[in-house]
Symmetry: C2
Subunit: 151 residues, 2 copies
């Protein structure tokens, strides 16, 4: 672990809002709603998904506001986004960050332990001086259940 979250583990909605305020930011309804949506689930959420949940409670929070705030929270180190395939990006709290194995057939996303990547990381470092971030893009492949898809 290194540049990942640099001591920025977000612990609660209020914690993040405080940090936002400390930075000169403001605590708005849209932000509180977004953070509540993010803290209330552990999974991979798309922006649209989050917007839909928020709009259930606060109908005129616009999706562009959701994008802007996800961006802002990402700059703050509170959330990260990852690409799990051809579809939309998924967002989650940086404290839940991990790598993914995504099945190209059925789309299932397996959360892989980081240790699985340490040897690849070492190799890339020693061969190319390249420091990998395995969290951002999923590794494509075929899952157990799809390995024999043609009946």
């Amino acid at each position: 672990m290194s540049a990942l979250a640099a001591g920025t583990g977000p612990t609660s909605v209020d914690d993040v809002l405080a940090r936002l305020r400390a930075r000169g930011g403001r605590v708005t309804n849209a932000r509180r709603q977004l953070l509540e949506a993010l803290f209330s689930s552990t999974g991979h959420r798309t922006a649209e998904d989050l917007a839909a949940e928020i709009q259930g409670r606060a109908p005129d929070v616009h999706i562009s506001t959701v994008y802007r705030n996800l961006d802002e929270l990402e700059r703050l180190g509170v959330v990260v986004h990852a690409h799990l395939g051809h579809g939309p990006a998924t967002y989650h709290l940086s404290s839940h960050s991990h790598s993914h194995l995504v099945c190209g057939e059925c789309g299932v996303a397996i959360e892989a332990p980081d240790e699985m990547f340490t040897r690849l990381a070492d190799d890339a470092e020693s061969s190319f001086g390249f420091h990998i971030d395995p969290h951002h893009f999923a590794v494509l492949g075929t899952c157990k259940g799809c390995v024999k898809p043609t009946p």
Copy 2:
């Protein structure tokens, strides 16, 4: 290597055109141009890029035709596409297939030897029964030159 290209190493434009014809497909100018563009370079080409080259010689080949033919060639096993980051997909002959390490700062794409992924592949297989395809999505990270970007 296994499902990758199943004996389908394309050797020349005419070889592929013959295979296309054998399948009930037709040999058209757009297809010949596309194949020539693909065979004449080794790098990562975007659809737009290929279209531009083709349009230099055959101006009314439409980009949608390029997309459709890239698709078709992919189904044939002649080309593959890979995602090297947030931008457009890149296409190349399946015989040039390889993995990539892409720098999130400067965008450079390093072609990584497949052996670098064998241990990750083994781990994923034994832990999850998951068969990885490291060619399709690049691994993000930071390259040698960008590792100390803040002066």
